[in-house]
């Protein structure tokens, strides 16, 4: 092969490698967005069912990380999704099955619910405005619309705690419900405000800093 032929072949090989790398980048990274879960439309309205658990599923890339999950009304069909699709300008009824233990809030102020209809939520069927900040396990908050609801944690002496997702309702848990009105169309972040990342300084590393565990997006459509 002549020198110019070798140069052309070399250029073709390098170009092919670059093209493959770009294709892999697009296919494996750019288009690899976290999954989403949609609210359920029922005769009672728009419902969103979530669960919080101390440790993600054993086959999760981070099986020791605390996490939110999307579930159905009967706490079945657990999906590891933290992007929730909701209709715009609609009252959404949220139910959260909370299986994790108590950690406590760094800012006790967040122990009071804000942004819900009536400024209240129910904890195991009881209507409340706030909980003892030290008993909070997690928070479901959408700061852009002023929504913040503390999630009561199960006792550290609970007889039947859940270790890893998915968790059946036979495990110790709290059930929190509240209703809020979604804003206009757009993408809103939500997050937990409890320093619940076990093993990280101030509890704010790992799952608190990684979209897909203790934070995510509300996609209002």
């Amino acid at each position: 092969m002549s020198a110019s032929g070798k140069r052309l072949a070399g250029i073709a090989v390098v170009a092919a490698i670059v093209c493959v790398a770009i294709a892999l980048y697009i296919a494996l990274y750019l288009t690899n967005v976290p999954g989403s879960a949609s609210a359920v439309e029922t005769s009672s309205g728009t419902n969103l069912y979530l669960a919080t658990v101390a440790s993600a599923a054993t086959n999760d890339p981070h099986p020791t990380w605390v996490s939110y999950y999307a579930v159905d009304a009967n706490d079945q069909n657990w999906r590891h999704a933290t992007t929730y699709v909701l209709p715009a300008n609609t009252l959404v009824h949220v139910t959260i099955f909370q299986f994790d233990s108590q950690t406590g809030l760094r800012n006790p102020f967040i122990g009071q619910a804000t942004g819900t209809v009536g400024g209240t939520f129910t904890l195991n069927g009881k209507t409340m405005e706030a909980i003892d900040p030290d008993t909070a396990s997690h928070v479901f908050a959408i700061p852009a619309i002023g929504l913040s609801v503390p999630l009561y944690g199960i006792s550290s002496t609970a007889k039947n705690p859940c270790s890893n997702a998915p968790c059946p309702l036979s495990n110790d848990h709290s059930t929190i419900t509240f209703t809020f009105r979604t804003p206009a169309k757009g993408l809103y972040r939500w997050q937990c405000f409890v320093p619940c990342a076990a093993g990280f300084i101030q509890g704010f590393g790992g799952p608190m800093q990684t979209v897909g565990y203790m934070d995510g997006f509300i996609k209002v459509v």
Binding site: P108, G111, P143
Partner: protein, 293 residues
Amino acid sequence: MDHPAAGSTGMPEVNEPNHFLRIVLWWLVVSVIGTALVVFVLGPGLPPGNGSVEASGQVTDNTVLLALSVPVAAAVLVYLTYALIVFREREPEVYVDGPPIRGNASIQLWWLVTTTVIVLFLAGYGSIRLLADGSGGGQGPNPIAAPAASSSDPPLQVQVIAQQWQFNYRFPGYGGVEVPDLELPANTLVEFHVTSLDVIHSFWAYQLGVKADANPGVDNVAYVTTKGPLSVNIRCAELCGVWHGYMFETAHVVSKADFATWIRAQETRFAPATKTLPPYSKTYFPPPERRGG
């Protein structure tokens, strides 16, 4: 090979105009016009606007700094432009080296004097401006540049509590109530006490000209005297984690009557949370440092 017209110095002997005088005249013209444009046209629109006394002061400072930079930039640009036009090679086929550059004590002296005067003036001007009222910046726990406040109308104290990823505001003068949204009364001296519960944040109230770091365990005091009703963009100005880019909100400066109504409503609304808050303190060290797991 020497140029045919070269004299004993090897340089062309031609009747050169007084380039220095021409450059100085052009520089004066450009400087006067440029400075006037900066002061009267560009200056009033410079950030951060006139949302507070301190913000207006920052507009003045930015105008002064920009106006001072105009003659400096003009000197460079006028000389460069003049050289490109007048000293260009008109006969490309003839290559003649320029005159050798040697030391010029006079130019060096003037250069040193001029730059020294400019730098010292800026240092003095900036120090005086900062000492006047703090210019809206965080001054740490022991501020030395507090605006004058009358004894009958003390500053409104507002504690800014930053955490990942939200600002909350506590009013020690109103029962220590804490709120998630900020409203301030117009035409009022406000004393911000900025702190953090976790990592380093920075409280930046753009239209008010306030920017103060929020450090855990530190009470960073910043003063601002609000003006008329307006909306204020608040952002965190310190990279503080995955949701730093979402740590923003809109505050409002309202009339004193509206503020009084609003703060009373907040005291009622957040009464349940207020009961659980620790006593008002300049800093907080909340547990847990590390989750038990």
